[in-house]
């Protein structure tokens, strides 16, 4: 669903570090799996082994290459390191719409981002597990989810009203979406909205950007002559 558009003249491409935050088991990794692989696994184990995924997001005038960092479980005991937040241009703060405490936790993570991350970071608040809600309470584009409604729970499992979370997001200047990693609803939209919200000036790795080149000039390539990394640095044209 978010496949890179192929063909046509190459557009400028920039790398963007995006970090995931949110309480355990709200579906952080599932959202990314849906976005990157268009895949969903029920009852997924807590994240192991997936640290870092990349996915391109084509926009009309440029391509954003997301480097998506997962918490690797370090959020569980509030043990994320400063290096996790460093240079992140975007953050996905996820909560579970069936679990009000996870929104409280999300607010905590937003505060943590405001404390630790770069001042211009784009933050999207995402209420996940929209497939567990009946469509009536979710005014925005929940029709498709309704058609898929084959869950065994008849009752609406939603505990966080859309407008509560939306009001909070508006107040703090966050992008806001409700998604279902399970059905894929709204997932690509979140990433596209983030890509669009990142100011051109913030983009590092933009080919030809003077700021990006200056940054690279002090960098030492540790694997010089060891693998093909060298070629990559050399062809930044």
């Amino acid at each position: 669903m978010a496949d890179a558009s192929q063909g046509s003249a190459p557009k400028p491409s920039s790398s963007v570090k995006l970090v995931l935050l949110g309480e355990a088991a709200v579906g952080k990794s599932s959202l990314v799996m849906r976005f990157v692989n268009n895949d969903f696994q029920e009852n997924k184990e807590p994240t192991i082994g997936a640290a870092f995924l990349t996915q391109k997001c084509p926009l009309p005038t440029r391509t954003i290459k997301f480097e998506i960092w997962d918490t690797a479980g370090q959020e569980r005991f509030a043990s994320l390191a400063p290096m996790y937040y460093r240079n992140a241009s975007a953050a996905l703060v996820v909560y579970d719409i069936t679990k009000p405490s996870s929104l409280t936790k999300a607010q905590h993570w937003v505060a943590e981002l405001q404390r630790q991350a770069s001042p211009g970071i784009v933050i999207a608040l995402v209420g996940n597990k929209l497939d567990l809600a009946t469509p009536s309470t979710s005014p925005e584009g929940a029709d498709e989810a309704a058609e898929d409604e084959n869950d065994d729970d008849e009752a609406d499992a939603r505990k966080v009203p859309t407008k509560t979370a939306k009001a909070y997001a508006d107040e703090d200047g966050l992008l806001f979406f409700e998604t279902s990693a399970k059905t894929g609803e709204n997932v690509a939209e979140v990433f596209t909205a983030i890509a669009n919200a990142i100011p051109e000036t913030q983009l590092k790795g933009t080919r030809g950007s003077a700021a990006a080149r200056a940054q690279e000039e002090s960098r030492v390539n540790l694997s010089a002559g060891r693998d093909t990394m060298g070629a990559k640095e050399g062809c930044a044209c």
Binding site: A51, T54, F77, S79, S218, N221
Partner: protein, 507 residues
């Protein structure tokens, strides 16, 4: 979906403390199937190698009970002068070190693929501070020095050829001769064997007829944390040789590198993240209040209230103690360190090394022992490592001076201040905005702790150069834990999605 609780898990390994040793171990274990719980009683990563914002530095100083750690905020009150920025704009390294490009650490970070999350930068010029001999102590008794100067230490033919007038033509020839000899010292043992345990200065003077000013240049390159009189030839030659042989290995001109954003603290965090990605559970702010060994397992009472069982415990003497500060120590044992934030980028210290060299992010200034006329019985050298804002440790137009001396308090801290001030006096005298003093206790090798408990030293040695034996210790404990004597240490494939050479693949 929630991971099982800490208490119900039979942990294979509990690691206490996130200093460099334990973090490298976490990295080494990150592809094993061991169940690992990694704790730190501090709320930050890195233990003695941590990097701090100003606020974290203040909290840390408060925790160092009965030690001579202190902070001074010297930000000037004038409206338009340089100002201290917000606390998080700084990332100050408690244990800054240079990593020679020939270090095994570089190799390990590459083969383990951990380097992909790190940024390394080049150290630039090395300078020798020489005091003018006629300066007198001022009325307050602190040595006054208006007229010291900096000499750039030459390390190759070009440096020597283009060096300023401090080296005359005849001396240039001698300097080249010494440089050539040191590059090949291990093949010419007959030349220096007789001087092995004698001062290196004596060898240079007697054998190469070097004048004292040039002897100082070579002594500086040893980057020895001790006095020149204690710097033996056997100690000096491998160190200078390492410096010279490291030049050009990872790019033109530089011999050592530093990790961006706070030095070894960054390596610790990357090691721990690799551990987490491999499934280890991380818990900061949780120490061990009690350990009980029963049969072949150890029960740990954590300060969080949890009680966990593990087959192995890996720690260091500090991470095992419930006290939050460094081990109580005889202060005369410690060396003195300071961190100064300077309100200038000090461009004069960071000239481009050579054509095509990366922008240097650091510089070294060595101030030999005895530079102060007023120094008495026990002269001590001062080593200064200056990091520019390129390191991400401070905002633009500022830089950080990390100062170190083997002299302990009370002489040490004032010696450091004098050295920093004298250096700044050589380069337009920019203001020091903030300064922290702390005693640095070189870690000792702990004695064996017994079955199932493995101990690392609690931090680094006094040396400001990364010590490769750290990796040997990590490897020894790693082998004991995984029980495999043949497996390659810290050699991993990239994890899925992590390799950067997929750059041009379309997904």
């Amino acid at each position: 979906m929630q991971a099982e609780s800490l208490n119900d898990t039979d942990w294979d390994i509990v690691i206490a403390g996130t200093g460099l040793y334990q973090s490298l171990l976490a990295l080494a274990l990150s592809r094993s199937d061991k169940k690992v719980l990694h704790l730190d009683k501090n709320s930050y990563y890195g233990e003695a190698e941590a990097a701090f914002s100003l606020q974290e530095a203040e909290e840390w100083v408060k925790e160092q009970n009965n030690s001579s750690a202190s902070i001074e905020n010297l930000s000037p009150s004038e409206e338009d002068g340089p100002k201290l920025s917000f606390p998080r704009a700084y990332s100050l390294a408690l244990a800054p070190q240079l990593i020679y490009t020939s270090s095994k650490l570089i190799e390990c970070l590459v083969t383990s693929k951990a380097f992909r999350q790190l940024e390394f930068q080049a150290m630039g010029s090395w300078w020798l501070y020489s005091a003018s001999k006629d300066s007198e102590p001022d009325s307050s008794g602190t040595p006054a020095e208006a007229s010291g100067n900096l000499v750039r230490i030459p390390t190759n033919r070009e440096d020597v050829a283009f060096s300023d007038s401090t080296i005359d033509l005849r001396s240039k020839r001698s300097v080249m001769k010494v440089l050539r000899f040191i590059m090949d010292y291990d093949n010419q043992e007959e030349l220096w064997e007789g001087y092995k345990e004698r001062p290196f200065a004596e060898f240079l003077t007697n054998h190469f007829k070097l004048p004292p000013t040039l002897v100082d240049l070579f002594l500086a390159l040893t980057f020895s944390p001790t006095c020149s009189s204690q710097t033996t030839t056997a100690f000096a030659l491998p160190r200078i040789s390492r410096h010279l042989r490291s030049i050009g290995r990872l790019g033109p001109g530089f011999s050592s590198v530093i990790p961006k954003w706070g030095g070894l603290a960054e390596v610790s965090q990357v090691g721990c993240r690799a551990g987490a990605v491999g499934g280890a559970v991380y818990m900061l702010g949780s120490g061990i209040s009690k350990t009980e060994s029963i049969d072949d397992s150890t029960t740990l009472h954590l300060t969080s209230g949890d009680i966990v069982r593990t087959k192995h415990l890996v720690a260091n003497p500090v991470s095992l103690s419930s006290n939050s500060s460094q081990p109580s120590q005889n202060s005369s044992e410690g060396t003195s360190r300071s961190i100064s934030i300077v309100g200038s980028s000090l461009p004069a210290l960071f000239p481009q090394l050579t054509e095509g060299a990366p922008i240097p992010a650091g510089a070294v200034v060595i101030r030999p022992a005895g530079s102060f006329p007023s120094e008495t019985s026990d002269p001590a050298p001062v080593q200064l490592i200056i990091h520019s804002s390129e390191t991400g440790e401070c905002p633009k137009n500022q830089c950080i001076i990390y100062a170190s001396t083997p002299a302990s308090a009370p002489a040490g801290p004032s010696l450091l201040d004098a050295a920093v001030n004298a250096l700044l006096a050589c380069i337009d005298n920019p203001p020091v905005l903030w300064r922290m003093h702390y005693p640095f206790v070189p870690a000792r090798i702990p004695s064996d702790a017994g079955d199932g408990v493995h101990l690392f030293p609690a931090g680094m040695s006094a040396d400001l150069v990364f010590d490769d034996t750290i990796l040997d210790r990590v490897e020894t404990i790693w082998r004991a834990l995984v029980g495999d004597t043949n497996a390659a240490f810290l050699v991993f494939e990239d994890r899925e999605g992590q390799a950067e050479d997929e750059e041009d693949e379309y997904l």
